[in-house]
Every structure is written in structure tokens, then in C-alpha cells.
Amino acid sequence: MLGTYYTFPELLLWIPFVTGLITFFIKKSTSVKAWALFSSLATLVVSVISLFYSDTAHHTEYFLYNNVSYFWLQYIGSSFSVGLDGMGHLLTFLTAFSFPLIFAVTYKTEYKNSNAFYGLMLLMQAGFMGVFVAMDALVFYFFWELALIPAYFLCSKWGGEKRIQATFKFFIYTFTGSLLMLTGIIYVYLQTPALTATADHSFSLRAFYSIALEPSQQNWLFWLFFLAFAIKMPIFPFHTWQPDTYEQAPYSTVMVLSGVMVKMGVFAMIRWLLPVLPSAVAKFDHLVVALCVIGIIYASCIALLQNDLKRFVAWSSIAHIGLMGAAIFSQTVSGLQGVMVEMLNHGINIIALWIVVDIIDKKTGTRKISELGGLALKSPALAIFFVIIALANIALPLTNAFVSEFMMFNGVFQFGKWLGAFACIGIILSAVYMLNVVQKVFFGNTSAFTQNAIVLSAGQKVILSVIVVSILILGIYPQPVFQLTHDTVADILQRLAMAGK
């Protein structure tokens, strides 16, 4: 069993990293693609296997396979320790699942000097993995930044015509946030007790959880962390980098950005903010939830007016993220569990959405909603896929998003009736903008751009079907995901509750 030689987190981390580095030295573009796909599939296999060891019931074995720690900077009490808990399993799986999907669906697309492209993609995957498995604040920060760099290069090299400015804004914005977080991390670190003989403080997650800071300290530390994560997610009003970046980024990258990278923020909120600064969370939760709820409405309203499909998806995603943020800070079982499931669902759904948009863009040569129309006449298959995906995005029952959004709204409602009610307006608005687009793009009469039919390749059909099936399965039987993340949620809520007393 792999787990006995290399623990799963290591494998998940190193496979993409090493293969990514190798990719740079492959010359032929076809073999590059094959190699990248192969690597991502290998990662997927590992993560799937790891899911079988995610059961915390027989704990020793579980721990053995999923946690490891090496000496790193022992003099300042930071060790290279990585591990997988429920949430880690979930998100590593999402990462591992989305990459092969993306590679496969964009297999036809030709990127110039593709070895660099795929190499960076794989490095980015490694970065994500690192963030999700990090059990040490410094390691976490390390990968948090590392994930950003490939994204920067991918977007500004292979993106649209205004790519450089847009991506640069994105980079500077997030970089600032994370630097602030770094200072926060350092401050917290200096409050931690010594866990090892060599250093008198420690960066390990354990140490971070073990301390109880003064409320006065927490109150300003909170913002240092929150800013970084809020920008990454992005929560209103820190979202302005997102539409531009999504508009400019190449499709396969934007799939990753919106599908996985955004989850880094959510993940970090849950792992590094809530349990570490509980009293500050208790102090500011209303404010934050209010912000998020405003964000939902705000983004939905603006999404109504978008004429560019990419920007449209970007805004709708902001709305969803807002809901996640609100649910996190509702600090309820329902809310947090909902977020867990939603992280997976949102990942799948938005990637699916991008895939379809990509196909439309490639085939018709336009992203302008006003220039499209009547696609359903010529290419019914695409229409059906899109409609299902769109319905998943507006959280129609029996699609995956319904479960998660139901729980998140429920959580927010428990947190505050009025906030909850206000947030729920989102479901109406989401229906409005989604159906608008469905109608304008697929129904009605064909336009000059949509004269000739779009024939889906077999590969695309297969991938979209896989996605649709997973959408439905997760929509009808989400129980496994709950079981996966149950312990994490319980643990975090318990910490919050203890701080409450």
C-alpha cells in the first residue's frame, strides 16, 4: 500500500510538482499534453485511493497514512508537516478531479510553447495541494504564494488582449493581502508556546490552535487574516480584480482559478481564521455576514447586465462565493457542512459552465450574449448540457448545488433571520440572470454567429456527461461528503463554542 511508503499528502504534493518540472523539458506539444494528462490522472488515482483511508474510525492507520512531518526550520519552530483531514481530503480530491477534466476538455486547444503552459499548470496544482495539506502556518503561506505565481504567468502570457494589466492588478492585490496575512501569522506565532526543544515558538497548526489570544489582539489580527482570504475568495468589496482577470485569462486557467483557487480562500477561512481567532470572529461575524449577503445581491444584480459570457460567469461566481462566506461566518453545523459540500459542487459546476462557454466561444467566435441566440435549434446536445448545468447553478433540487445551498441558506437563517431572508433573495435573482442567459443564448432565433451547428466531439460529450452525472449523484445522495467532512466541522465548531464561553 502506497500509504506505508509515502503518505498521501506527500504524493499529492510531489507528483504534480515533479511532473510539472519535467514538463518544461518536453519539446513535442502532443507529448506534453499526454504527459500532463497522465500526471494529473495519476494524482487523481492517488487521491481516490486516499479517500478510502479517510475514515477516521480506525484512527492509527488513518493517521499513519495521512500525516507526515519533516525537520525544516527547526530553529524557528517550523517543520515541513503536511496532513489530510476531512476537509483536506475533500479539497485535494476536488483539485485532483478538476485537473484531468480540464486537460482532457482542452486537449484540442493549441497553446504556443505548450510545455511551459502545462508545466505551470501542474506547478499550480502542486501549489493548491500544498495549501490544502499544509499543517504548518509557514508551509501554508509558502504554497499560498507559490500557487499565485504560475497563475500570474499563465494569465498574462496566454490571456486576452488586456491580459497584462488585468492579471497584474490581480497579482498585486492578492500579494498585498497575503503579505498582511504573513505579518499576522508571525504575530500569532510569537504568542505560541514552544513545542520543540530547538525553538521557543512554533508554527504548527497544533500550536496555533492551542493558544487563546487576548480579544484586543484578535480584533486587529482578524483583519490581517481576513483581508488576505477575502481578497482571494473574493468577498465583496474586495472582488474587483476578479471579473477582469476571468475575462482575460485563458479558459483552462480560468477553470482552475474559479474552480479551485477560489476555494483556497474559503478553506483558509475555515482552517486558519475561525479556530485561531474565535473571539474576533464572534465579534465581527455580523459585519462579515452582512458584507457577504450584500455581495450576493450586488453581484447578482450586476450579473444581470453582463453581455460578455465570461464576465457573466465571473459575477455569478462572486454571488455564490458571497453565500459561502456568509455560511462560514454563520458558524452553524448546517452552514459549515453546506460550505464543505458547496466547495466541491461549485468547483464542478463552474468548471462545467466554463467548458460550455469555451465551446461556444471557440465554435461561434463570439462571447457576446447579444450576438448569440437560437443555439438550441442547431446544437440541441450542447443546449441540454448547458441547461442542466445552468439549473445546477441556480440550485434546482436534485442537482448538487441544491443540497449545499439549502444548507448554507439554512445556516445563515439560523444565524440571523433577516440576513437569511435577505440572502435568499439571491435564489430569485440567480434564476433571473441564469434564465436570461439561457434564453438569449440558446432559445429564440439563430443569429449570424450561430448559423452552423456545433457538433460536440466524443470527448467533450463524455466529459460533460461525467460532470452532469456527478451533478445529479451529488444532488441525490450527498451523504458521503458529509461523512468525509463531519469531523472537521464538528472540531471547528467545538473550538468556536469553547471560545464563546
Binding site: 492585490y173 468589496p237 474587483t240 447586465l305 453545523v333 434546482l396 437569511g420 429564440g444 450527498p478
Partner: protein, 645 residues
């Protein structure tokens, strides 16, 4: 016989399978086969429903709660995927499966002009609808009900926009879905509140006679209950097209006629009534909400009926009449006549489906013409349609012994018991109903033909696949009422009431009639007499022999009449109140985003650039200046260090 409950899940499952087959194989399978599958699966589940019904009607039957798997399990909140079967369920099962079976058969012929794949699409949608509707009815808790609830909404969206080339249809479909969403918004909040208040959403735990949470709540009108019930009612308003969310239903007539019959008359729109009847215990605990329900129902009943007076589109008339009939049902619920409401749902399903199908047959014959001012005298050409339609009119107008009479009478009686004023208004509504129905009948089937020549040649009786369902429904709406004969006319004749009694047992005190025999008789007779008079008046008024006279209907009216003709400008009002403002706000927000929020972010960058441009001027290149600045810096440091204490 109990083992039937192990098969219950097949009732929704079969239509779902039908949906899959027809949906995926819509290109492969031949039309006839598609039709067969589509109707066949429904028929099987109809038979199953009959079995279920028989079982439930047995003595000493106790409600069944069938738990399949945990849908959402949060430890302390568990929402299982469960079915709940009792008398109410089984009755609705019968109605849904029965009516939809007939309509499937009808559609098989009605839609035969569709393209191969379109035909398949149609039937798959229809099956999917039945599936969702059955899920709604069978669901063992509010969440499962909600799943069905939104499912039917989706199907109605898909079916209204079935001919998606036409953007007006698409708009109608979108309107329907969004208005439903607004309702669902309330419903959802209701569920959330329920969950946070009671920690459960399944009927079993809420309404169980022994240890039900609600039943154990003694406080009448506790804010929680009122809040929840009102929120749920918002959902019902959306789904069952009550004021203020009714405007989607008339537009929904854009869909194929059988769809209007099935979804927008017989089944889906009655989901609201089902839901409230289902949660009758809660409502009985919240009289305030009851009042709200009753008043909204009554208002809708009158309002819609008034609008219906001046409509010339045959389907629009029927649509408004549906709205108004639904209003009656809510009135019934509001005054606690749950049985009456359900009874009316049943009868209404029969005669309204019949009316729509008849209308469909007429439109079919007229080659798509829907304007009644261009019809007339069709009775001679289309005998069966005419007669069945006539029966339906009698039924809906409430003329004994047809079905509508009994159900409507029960509601009105209960209303009188509750508060005479409700009764009088209700009666007025009934008269209006009688009037516009007979107006419709007369204009369509009697008098002289007003259409074009070739239409006249084209007119013919529809084929058997269309007429048979008509006949069956006609029979049902003729005799369907006898399941609920009032006590005073026949000792324990109210079979339906006895059947449903256990469901509404807990809200007994509210539902109890306290009317003396003769009052009831008097009410009945008066109403019947009045209705008859009105009907005959309408009949004579619109039995137009010479086409010229029709101008009275078509010409530009003024004042109140004009307002009625234009449906009181409600759509325009909503446009001005909600749609436009949303646009404006969104625009505003977009501007804010560009200028303010993004402005701040970019402003930071700009200010850095600006600062850079300014600060670099210090670097003047002059040694003298440099030394001067150094000295000044030194001065400042010295002063701080030496004199800051």
C-alpha cells in the same frame, strides 16, 4: 395488501423511467412508441395508485412513513428521503395519475404534427412533470415536497417555452419560473424557520397524533407558527397563482393546450392547496394566517372572475377562471373547510381539464384560432366537443347535480358559517363564473360562424384519441360530485369527508360546521336559482345569430370595461414597480462598482504613481540641495532625540 407500500416508490419511478427513455431515445424511437411509453408508464402508476387508494380507504389504516435513505444528515438535523402515504396522498395520487394519463393519451394525437425529436421532448417533459408532481405529493417532509415543488415549476417552464423559437413564449416561461421562484423563496424561508424552530421538517415528527411536535404546541397564534404558515402560504401563492403572483398563469397559456390542461389547470396549480391541506394542523393553530388565506383567496376569486368577463381568447378565459377557482379553494382552506377545498380540487381537476381539452379540440379544429369572437356555431360541426364542453360549463357554474355544485357549495357553506360576508362575496363570484362560462360557451358553439371560409371547411370533429378523454372527463365531472353529498341531503353521503377525516382530525374544532339544516338548504337553493338565472341571461345575450353584432365585444371599450379588458393593467404595474427598478438598480450598482469600488483599488495604484512622480523631484541632481536636505534631516533627528522629552 400492506406490501403495496413496498412498491410505492414505483409510482414516481415509472414516469421517471419514461422520461429517461423518451428523453434519451427521442431520435431513435418511433412517435407511436414514444406515445405508448409515455402514456403506458403513467397508466401503470395509475393502477398502483388505485391499489394504494384501496389500501388507504380500508378500516384502521394508519398513515405510512416510508424512509429510503438519509438525504441531508447533520447529526442533530436529519432530513431523510422519505415518503408519507395517507388518505390525502392517495387521493391526490389518483387525481394526478388519472388526469395525466388521460391527457397523455390526448396529447399523443394532439401533438402528432410535431417533429420526431420535438415529440419525444414533449413526452419526456410531460413524464418528468408527472414524476415531480408525484414526488411533491408523496414526499414525507417539506424538503422532499419542495423538491417536487421546484421540479414541477421547472417542467412548466420547459413546457410553456416548448416552442422556444418564439421569444414571447420564452418570456412567458421565464415569467412563470421566476414568479414561482418568488413563491419558493417564501416556502424555503418557511422550511428554514421550521427547521430552526422544531429541528425537523417531516410530517411524521410534526403532525403525528401521539408525539407530533406541532400537536404538542398548545399556544394558538404563536408568532413562530404564524410566521411559518404565512411564509408557506407565500409559496402557495406563487404556485397556485393567487394575488399578487397570479399574472404568470394567463401567460402560461402559451404552452401546448394539453399542458395547460394538465399543469395549469388540473394538477400543478393545486399543489398550493395540497400543501396547506397537508399542513392543516399548523394553520389551525394560526387563525391569523387562516384569515389571510381566506381573504386572499376570495379576493383572487372575484378579481380573476371579473377579468375573465371581457377576455376573448378562449384559453385566457379558462386561465382566469382557473385562477378564480383556485381562489375558491383557498377560501375553503381559509375558513377551515379543508375537505371542501380538496373536494373542489378534485372536481375542478375534472371539469377544468375537460374545458381545456375541449378548447384544445376547438383550436385544433379552427387551425390554431383562439379568438372566440371569430368562432360561433361550432356546436353543429363538433357534437361531442360541444356536449362535453356544455357539461363542463354546468359543472363549473355549480348547477346541480354536476360535480362543481357540491364542492363549491360545501366551501360557500363553510364560508357562511365562518362569516356571512365571505359567503355573499363568494356567491357573487360564483355568479360571475356562471356568466363568463356561458358567454364563452355561447360565443363558441352557438349562433353563426364568424370565421373565414376555409376555416369553416376545415372545422371537423376531432379523432377518438381526443374525444374519448373528453367523454371520460365529462362523465367524471357529471357524477364526480356524488362522493361529497352534504349530510343534509343524504345521511353519511359525504364519502370523501369520511375518507379524509383522519387527515384533518386534529384541526377538527375549526372545521366543524355549525350550520342548521334549513339555513344550508336556503343557501343552496338561493345560490342555485341565482346561478341559473345568470347563466340563461348570459346564454341569451351571447347567442349571436348575425356576425355584425359581435362588434360589441371587439370594439374599443372605455372606462371600467377597458380596465377589465386590459386585466386592470397589473402587468404594466409590475413592470413599473419591479422589473424597471431592478434594471435601474443594477445599472447603478454597475456604475458604483466601476467608479467607487474599483476606483478605490485603481486609485491606490494611481496615487502610488503620482507620489512617485512627486517624490522623484526631490532628486534634483543638485549636490547643494542634497546636502541641505541631509542637514535638515539631521536637524530633525537631533531635535527629536534631544528635545522630545
Amino acid at each position: 395488501m400492506q406490501r403495496i407500500f413496498d412498491l410505492v416508490y414505483w409510482i414516481p419511478m415509472l414516469p421517471f423511467i419514461g422520461f429517461l427513455i423518451n428523453g434519451l431515445g427521442r431520435k431513435a424511437i418511433s412517435k407511436t412508441l414514444i406515445g405508448l411509453i409515455g402514456s403506458g408508464v403513467i397508466f401503470i402508476s395509475f393502477c398502483l395508485s388505485v391499489l394504494v387508494f384501496i389500501t388507504t380507504s380500508k378500516e384502521g389504516f394508519s398513515p405510512q412513513n416510508i424512509n429510503y435513505f438519509p438525504f441531508i444528515n447533520l447529526g442533530k438535523i436529519i432530513i431523510p428521503f422519505e415518503f408519507h402515504v395517507d388518505q390525502l396522498t392517495s387521493l391526490f395520487l389518483l387525481i394526478v395519475t388519472g388526469v395525466s394519463f388521460l391527457i397523455h393519451v390526448y396529447s399523443a394525437s394532439y401533438m402528432k404534427d410535431e417533429t420526431q425529436s420535438g415529440y419525444g421532448r414533449y413526452f419526456s417533459y410531460l413524464n418528468l412533470f408527472v414524476f415531480s408532481m408525484l414526488l411533491l405529493v408523496l414526499g414525507g417532509n417539506y424538503v422532499i415536497m419542495f423538491i417536487g415543488w421546484e421540479g414541477v415549476g421547472l417542467c412548466s417552464y420547459l413546457l410553456i417555452g416548448f416552442w422556444f423559437k418564439n421569444n414571447d413564449y420564452n418570456n412567458a416561461a421565464k415569467k412563470a419560473f421566476i414568479m414561482n421562484r418568488i413563491g419558493d423563496f417564501g416556502f424555503l424561508l418557511g422550511i428554514f424557520w421550521m427547521l430552526s424552530a422544531f429541528g425537523t421538517a417531516s410530517y411524521q415528527n410534526l403532525f403525528n397524533s401521539q408525539d407530533g411536535i406541532i400537536t404538542s404546541i398548545s399556544a394558538i397564534n404563536s408568532p413562530v407558527i404564524v410566521g411559518i404558515t404565512l411564509l408557506l402560504f407565500v409559496g402557495a401563492i406563487g404556485k397556485s397563482a393567487q394575488i399578487p403572483l397570479y399574472t404568470w398563469l394567463p401567460d402560461a397559456m402559451a404552452g401546448p393546450t394539453p399542458v395547460s390542461a394538465l399543469i395549469h389547470a388540473a394538477t400543478m396549480v393545486t399543489a398550493g392547496i395540497y400543501m396547506i391541506a397537508r399542513s392543516n394542523i399548523m394553520y389551525s393553530l394560526a387563525p391569523t394566517s387562516m384569515v389571510v388565506v381566506a381573504s386572499i383567496g376570495l379576493a383572487t376569486a372575484i378579481f380573476a372572475a371579473v377579468i375573465a368577463l371581457k377576455q376573448n381568447d378562449i384559453k385566457k378565459v379558462l386561465a382566469y377562471s382557473t385562477v378564480s377557482q383556485l381562489g375558491y379553494m383557498f377560501l375553503g382552506l381559509g375558513v377551515g373547510a379543508y375537505t371542501g377545498a380538496v373536494f373542489h380540487v378534485m372536481t375542478h381537476a375534472f371539469f377544468k381539464a375537460l374545458l381545456f381539452l375541449g378548447a384544445g379540440s376547438v383550436i385544433h379544429a379552427m387551425g390554431g384560432e383562439q379568438d372566440i369572437t371569430k368562432m360561433g356555431g361550432l356546436g353543429k360541426k363538433m357534437r361531442i366537443t360541444y356536449i362535453t364542453f356544455f357539461i363542463a360549463c354546468l359543472a363549473i357554474a355549480g348547477i346541480p347535480p354536476f360535480a362543481g355544485f357540491f364542492s363549491k357549495d360545501e366551501i360557500l357553506a363553510a364560508a357562511f358559517a365562518n362569516n356571512p360576508i365571505l359567503y355573499y362575496i363568494g356567491l357573487a363570484g360564483a355568479l360571475l363564473t356562471a356568466f363568463y362560462m356561458f358567454r364563452l360557451l355561447a360565443l363558441t358553439f352557438t349562433g353563426k360562424f364568424r370565421g373565414t371560409e376555409d376555416q369553416l371547411h376545415h372545422v371537423h370533429e376531432s379523432p377518438a384519441a381526443i374525444t374519448i378523454p373528453l367523454i371520460i372527463l365529462a362523465v367524471l365531472s357529471a357524477i364526480g360530485g356524488f362522493v361529497g353529498i352534504p349530510e343534509i341531503l343524504m345521511k353519511n353521503g359525504h364519502a370523501l369527508g369520511d375518507f379524509l377525516a383522519p387527515v384533518f382530525a386534529h384541526s377538527g374544532p375549526v372545521t366543524a360546521h355549525n350550520l342548521s339544516g334549513q339555513t344550508e338548504i336556503i343557501l343552496m337553493t338561493t345560490s342555485v336559482i341565482l346561478i341559473l338565472i345568470v347563466s340563461i341571461w348570459a346564454w341569451r345575450k351571447y347567442k349571436i345569430e348575425e356576425p355584425a353584432a359581435i362588434v360589441s365585444e371587439t370594439r374599443e371599450t372605455t372606462g371600467f370595461a377597458k380596465a377589465i379588458k386590459n386585466k386592470f393593467y397589473v402587468d404594466e404595474l409590475y413592470n413599473a414597480l419591479f422589473v424597471k427598478p431592478l434594471q435601474v438598480i443594477s445599472n447603478l450598482l454597475r456604475k458604483i462598482d466601476k467608479s467607487a469600488i474599483d476606483g478605490i483599488v485603481n486609485g491606490a495604484g494611481k496615487s502610488v504613481n503620482y507620489g512617485s512622480r512627486q517624490i522623484r523631484l526631490l532628486q534634483s541632481g543638485q549636490v547643494g540641495t542634497y546636502i541641505l536636505l541631509m542637514v535638515i534631516g539631521m536637524l530633525i533627528l537631533l531635535i527629536i532625540q534631544l528635545f522630545s522629552k
